[in-house]
Amino acid sequence: MSGADQSKIKRRQFLAGAAAAPAVAAVALNGSPARAQAASVPAVPNAAGEVNPPGEATPLPEGYTCGSDHMVDVLKALDIEYIASNPASTFRSLQESIINYGGNSKPEFLTALHEDSAVHYGIGYARITGKPMAALVHGVVGLQHATMAIYNAFADQTPVYVIAGNSISEWTRRPGAESAHASIDQAQMVRDFVKWDEQPPSLRDFSNAAARCYQAAVTGSPGPTLLVADADHQEEAVHPEHMEQLHVPRMGRITKVGADSGVVQEIADMLCNAENPVIVVDRFGTSMESVPLLVELAEALQAPVIDTRGRMNFPNKHPLNHTEIAGPTLRAADLVLALEARDLFGMVNNLADTVERNAVSRLRPQTRVVRLGTTTLSQRSNYGASQRYAAADIEISASAEATLPYLTEAVKRGAKASFRTRGERLRMATSGLAEATRVEAARAWEASPISTARLAAELWDQIKNDEYTIATECQFQSYWPNRLWTMNHYYNYLGTSGGFGVGYNAPSAVGAALANRALGRLTIGIVGDGDYMMQPGVIWTAAHHQIPILMIIHNNRGYHQETMHIQRMAARHNRGIDRAHIGTAINEPNIDYAAVAKGMGVFAEGPVSNPVDLGPALRRALDVVRRGEPALVDVVTQPR
């Protein structure tokens, strides 16, 4: 008998079994399609020969549960706190189970206005908590919307737990939308940039698949994973006697893996014997422990640290922080220790944006390079997220954070008297930085549009006594927050998007704010106008779920990055650059971001273009945020 025929019979058995429970149970676990009852076409006669009216579901027989209740048990076992989602029929049963059976707690359902933001919320959330939250997306179209955010998470080694609905069996799909949103191999569209994907073939297989997706997301090099939850499995009727066959997984503690003791001693010897060892670091800071660990190593070795700010790695005002004088420090190096350095090539080379694209090494030819980190573990085919190849003299694919305590111990054992004089010299090199930074920040102080330095300084004045997070990238504000504020803890600054996909900042900042809410921590986002307009609805989600965040629009009225690209091309092509605004400016009409936010029920200020008005506007907005709600301030700014 063909599979198709079998499934027809099973469906009949199931429906007939509505009056005879054991018969139902016998087929329910094999994936019999309970939801066929609700399908409008084809309507299947029941035992009495009646046809269920289209769209009308028969209630579950007494004592039965549905497959999606089991799925909720699994999500609870995985300790998933939140599930962000744009509602859709391919997971209607799961959504209903989450809010009713699960009590809408662990996971709590968050209404996302786009699947892209549903996934991006998870990035900010994971940066704060170190663990994934879930995004629940519609079959095919929802996942298609979610792809860029998944890519950002992948490129940034951030765990996000994505669940997509699907209607695997053609026999139970309704025609129209449900068929169009079904796919045989849905994960195919993201397989190059998820760590793992799985579409369990039966309800019984759901739990292992779910646990494996979780495990893959958080171990080794963390990243996004995709679990496809079939609608038939969700809507399947489960007989009480078969509940015990549905296994709920247990997740043990997950640890990071450090380098072996032999190689740790070898690097320690190299570091101790080097004249000018330099530490370069990108995505190191992932927990409360990380920053102090790096401080201890840098101080034990009296070595400078150059931070490319992929995370909060090293206290920004520490005298050994040589980020602002990276050029001369790297040229003096005879040994570079690169920690969690995905773009090692970019860290040790200059590549001017010229036709020739000539790379010039920032190191002397004899300088040796040791790379320690998990970035090589995340390497995948096809996409360029792992950045240009760069050779290290020693490549160690292990967690830098897990290795550092042992490395620092070994360095302390091999410490030399000369370290102290080196340290004094390195401190001297940064002693003038504070004054130079002040001088630079004072330029254009009174300008309107408002300078990015002024914006950062006005903001700092009002948050300096708070436990705070700036949850957005800062390079488009010329890194002023990183230069002016005091950043000592991993949660002060969350780093960059990884995949450079614009539209990352606003939603991931809301995700960070969600995680910070429970900790009573203040969350700030400074978001480009272009970035913000990719997902302006995130502020509604923040309002709806009472997620406090101060969202500042860095409103330079354009895709300024692209304006510069066009200027560059026009100059190169010798054509004049007075038309570079075409396709890059966001003006005529100017967008009134405060009005947009107010329209979503959010307190908002702006446009603020006179610097004198900025402090009071920020204060009023912060009052609202401190009461537990979001607020937005539109600041008309200098380009960078």
Partner: protein
């Protein structure tokens, strides 16, 4: 024509001149230079008052002589694209230079309370 093609920026620049107090200080040539500066797009990487930022260094009050300034602009081989005389004629570049030199000096950082706190700890 500038108002037509660069409305946002021109109004922004005029506003910046107002707040910077440059309008009073600058002579007529320099003021014209502000318009040329905007039309020539130097602001894109050097910001509206030539203060610089992540994508270009400060060029207001440059220490370069006009000759060195012009040589750089015409012949840059690095991160700044070269601008030929066809794009920015000599007469324009002179005005840009004059404008950049005329921008009022920023306040001394020690007079700005907000910048004292930032490095206080």
């Amino acid at each position: 024509m500038h108002r037509k093609t660069l409305p946002g920026f021109v109004s922004a620049l005029l506003a910046s001149l107002f707040f910077a107090g440059a309008a009073q200080a600058a002579d007529a040539a320099a003021e014209d230079g502000a318009a040329v500066y905007s039309r020539s797009g130097c602001w894109g990487c050097h910001a509206y008052l030539g203060q610089g930022g992540r994508d270009g260094p400060q060029i207001a009050h440059t220490a370069l002589s006009y000759e060195a300034f012009s040589t750089f602009v015409r012949n840059s081989t690095g991160d700044m694209p070269p601008f030929t005389a066809r794009i920015v004629p000599d007469a324009d570049l002179e005005k840009i230079y004059a404008y950049l030199q005329s921008i009022p000096e920023p306040p001394a950082p020690e007079t700005l309370p907000l910048l004292q706190d930032v490095f206080s700890d």
